[in-house]
Amino acid sequence: MQYSDQVMDHFMNPRNVGEIENADASGTVGNAKCGDIMKVTLKIEDGVIVDAKFKTFGCGSAIATSSMATEMIKGKKLDEALRLTNKAVAEALGGLPPIKMHCSLLAEQAVKSALLAYYKEHDLITDENKHLFDKLDEDAHDAH
C-alpha cells in the first residue's frame, strides 16, 4: 500500500490520542466486524471546539484520518466543524489510495456523530443545519 508521507506521519505519530474526561460531546462509529471503529471526544466552550481526542481501531488510513480530522476541528466553531468532509481530510493528508477513501468517511462521521449528540442535547438543530447530519445515515462501508 502506497501511503503519502503525511499519512505515514499521522499514522506513526498520531495527534490527539485519548479520551477527554468529562467530555462535552462524544461519538463512536464503525464496528469491529468491519475492522474499524473510531471514538471522538470533544471539549466545547462558547460554541468552539477547544479540544478533541480520538481512539481508533482500524487500518493505517483510519488512524491517520482520525488524527488529521481532530487536528482540523480543534479551535473551530461548531458550525465550521460540521462542514468537515472526508475529502478535505484526505486532501490534507496528501491524498489516500482510492480503496482507502471510505476509511476517511469514518473520521468525518465520528466528528459528526459527536456534534449531533451535542446539538441534540443543547437543542441546536435548526432547519438550516440539519442537512449537515444527513451523511450519518450512510454506512461508511457503502461509500466505495
Binding site: 506513526m12 487500518c59 493505517g60
Partner: protein, 400 residues
Amino acid sequence: MQKPKRVYLDHAATTPVRKEVLDVMLPLFSEQFGNPSSFYQTGQEAQRLLTQARQTVADCIHADPREIFFTSCGTESDNWAIKGTAEALKKKGRHIITSQIEHHAVLHTCQTLEKQGFDVTWLPVDTNGLVDPEAVRQAIRPDTILVSIMMANNEIGTIEPVETIGSICREQKILFHTDAVQAAGSVPIDVRTLGADMISFSAHKLYGPKGVGALYVRKGVRLPNLLDGGAQENNRRGGTENVAGIVGFAHAFKLAVSEMPVTSQRLTMMRNDFIKSVMAAIPDTRLNGHPVQRLPNNVNFSFKYIEGESILLMLDHFGYECSSGSACTSGSLDPSHVLLGIGLPHEIAHGSLRVTLGRETEAEDLSRMVGDLSKIVARLRELSPLYPADRQQTDLNQHV
C-alpha cells in the same frame, strides 16, 4: 534517520531465487536459447535440458516423468486439475468435495463450477484448520467426481491429513487432487503412498523463479488438453516451453528436497522459539493454525483489539515484511476466509499477522522482532477504543 535493515518474512508469498538456481538459468536466456521443438543442435540441447528437468521434478516426488506437466503457475495447475476433471467426468457426475480453507485458486475455481451447475461440498475444518478425513468419506456420493484438499494451508500452515484422505478416495474410486504449492519443498511428498491423482506445484515458493508451475497427473488419469497448440507437454498444453524457468524450478526443487531434513529442523526450532517468545511478551495473543502439524516456516498470530493492516504498516516502517488476513489487506471487506473458517470472529481475524520464515532468516532478526512487535502491538492497543482501560495501565507500565 538510518534506514532499518529489511527483514523479509513473507516466504509463503514468494521466495528469492537461489543463487545456484539463477546460475543454471542465466545461460538459457541468451546462449542456450533454443526451442526444444527445433530439429537442430541448439533446439535439441534445450530438449535435453527439459527432459532432464522433468526427470528431476519426477524424482522429487517419486513419480514417472511422463506424469509431470509443466504449467505457468500453481493457479494454472489447480485450474487445469479441477476444471479438467469436471469437464472430463461431467457425464458421470457433477459433485465436487473441497474444504472451506483452500487457496483462492481452488476456492474460486470451484465457485466458477458451482455457477455452471456443479454441486460443491465445502467441508468445514476444526479450530486448528484440520479437515476430518471421515467427513470426506461421508460427503462422498454416487455422483462425486473429485475431492480437492490442500496439502498445507498457505495462511495458517496447517498440514492436512492428505494421505488418509487419499486412501479414502482410492478406496471409493474418486479422483483426488491436492494443492501442494505451500507444502512442496517443505514436507516430503511421495506419490507412491500419497494416493493423489493430481498434485499442483509452484516454483517460486521454493526458491525457484516466478512463472513456472507443474501438475502431476497420475498415469491413467485423462485430463482434457489445457491449451490446444503444438505437441508440447505430451500434446496437453501447447506453447513453447519456459525452458529457463522449468530448469530453474527443477534445480530449486531438487535442492529443497535434498536439504529438507536440515532446513526443516532449523526452521521448526526458530519458529517454535519465536512463537514462544511472542506469546510470552504480548498478552491477548492467539496462535492460529495447528500447534504441531504445521509447516516448519509458518507463524500466524491474532492480536486482540487491533487491526492487521496497521500492524503490517508499522512493521514495514521498522523493516519487517509480513502479511495479514485482515480485510484491509485482502482487498475486500471481509477478513480471510481461512481465519473465519477456523472459527475466528471477524474482529479477531482482522488482527492477524502471518510471519513466514525462510532459508535466509536469522534467529537474531526474529528475537529483535519480538521486541519491536510488542512495542507496535502496545502502541496500537493504546490507540484502540476496544482495549479495556484496566489492561492498558498494566501494559503501559510494562513498556515504559
